[in-house]
Symmetry: C2
Subunit: 330 residues, 2 copies
Amino acid sequence: MPVLTIPAVENLVIATLMRCRTSAANAASVARALVAAEADGLKGHGLSRVASYAAQAKIGKVDGFATPAIVYPRPAIVSINAAHGFAYPALDLAVAALPEVTRRQGMAAASIHRSHHCGAAGHSVERLAEQGFVALMFANTPGAIAPWGGSKALFGTNPIAFACPLFGRVPLVVDLSLSKVARGNILAAKQRGEKIPEGWALDAAGDPTTDPDTALTGTMLPLGDAKGTALALMVELLAAGLTGANFAAEASSFLDAEGPPPGTGQLIIAFDPIAIAGTKAIARFSAMAEAIEAQPGARLSGARRLAARCKAQAEGLNIPDVLITQFEAA
Amino acid sequence: MPVLTIPAVENLVIATLMRCRTSAANAASVARALVAAEADGLKGHGLSRVASYAAQAKIGKVDGFATPAIVYPRPAIVSINAAHGFAYPALDLAVAALPEVTRRQGMAAASIHRSHHCGAAGHSVERLAEQGFVALMFANTPGAIAPWGGSKALFGTNPIAFACPLFGRVPLVVDLSLSKVARGNILAAKQRGEKIPEGWALDAAGDPTTDPDTALTGTMLPLGDAKGTALALMVELLAAGLTGANFAAEASSFLDAEGPPPGTGQLIIAFDPIAIAGTKAIARFSAMAEAIEAQPGARLSGARRLAARCKAQAEGLNIPDVLITQFEAA
């Protein structure tokens, strides 16, 4: 299991994708995002995705040569057509375009459609917060969660991410998906031959199940029961309804090379906190972070990711041989 | 128990508040909001609040004669100082100001500070959706939820509300608070002399409790455990940090006439869906609503409230004698 520096891992991912019908610029954007997620310990959005991304690019389910197109339909709106390419170049374009518009208007939104897997949603908002903005992101994903009381998935696991600047340290980041657990946990239980806890998933008829195989043919339960389902609906309408993207039930999988492009959407909202609340805004965010950290047993959102990131930057990333094999086979 | 029409109940509330140091215009705004919540079956945000509102106005904890002030610090930002009055006149002002700004800019936000209890958060966003906008609202409330692993409340129950227009029918509304259950459920268990289920609340040391008295001295648990706490933090930073309002831990109670004004905040974001996604946007929202309703056992968010509203509009509202007594004693 080799240990590689972050730039070395990025180079490995870039080389893999460029062999699979992806432009150098797009491969670099994807590599930066996946390696950043891996470094944060978010393996579900990290290097485990390279092989399936490469397969999708090879067959054209994702267009590795796509160039996202930007238009400004109104003064506070940035509309980006990801052109069925990877999401990351479109997200990069949003993060590059939003600061100027947000400074001028006080707030702005980037509406992204014809998109793909957004990866670690916290990263896009964090990059805006690093520049002094408060940012909020909603993304939809292929069908995973049924309406409360129903049985067919109409909503994705639909991440919500938020970031705000803090004085003299990296931004505070909230990043969560609305399923109670990630589907990967069910796959892991299946591989271990174990049952899953009740409350994770429903079978295809909408009834609770503890069998991982049955769960994989059914739907995921949201966090917080009916309220979480309502949040998943809200994110679906913001990230797909408002952006003109495909809804979860219309979107093909992010994981395999079957079917048409998923065509999902992302909505990023940025605010200029100093324009809205004055120069004290950042101090207020910092005061909240400090109040949380002052409580014994409590921890600021994102603390675990930051610790993993620091370690990866200092010591490099362990790359399991199975990943190297996957990259070489792509 | 008299049955009164909605306008008759509003008149009763207006008369009560006007006797308690509140202007006619502010009393009308408060009455409209509380009676609308009561009609929707949201009794916790309805007529049960009149007596405590009146007591707060009488003693000056809320300024019943306040006039909310509006400024436009940037083209897409409406900033409203609720001037320690009731929240509803400030919310009315936001709902009146946002359409023009949103049409011009594509999106806009109303940032409200020095505010008070926002009541049923769904109503403000619903009024924007009735005019064709997609709207999102975040509000903070006095301290109720501790950071995950901690014991002292730093976040309120912090409602999130969302609404979007549908073809030929009232808007789709999502409206939820982030505590697992409302604190009123703990009070009700206490009155019945019953234990509360584990998972509702923590004691003052941050440990689980099933004793209602102990729970009332501790903190409320959020929906969805650590993820729900992260959402409560996010809402706190948006509704109070970004607006310049008091954080939950700084805010006095909405329920009694003790202490300084609560000074909480609300953030409303409105989008012009046609400017962003084109004329098909409303059809897409409607398609999602219909897909939910087509599933046996599933129900659209807000359906129960609408049924209660229709009944109240047709048959009037039952006003328990105890409320009439409270109004007369105010």
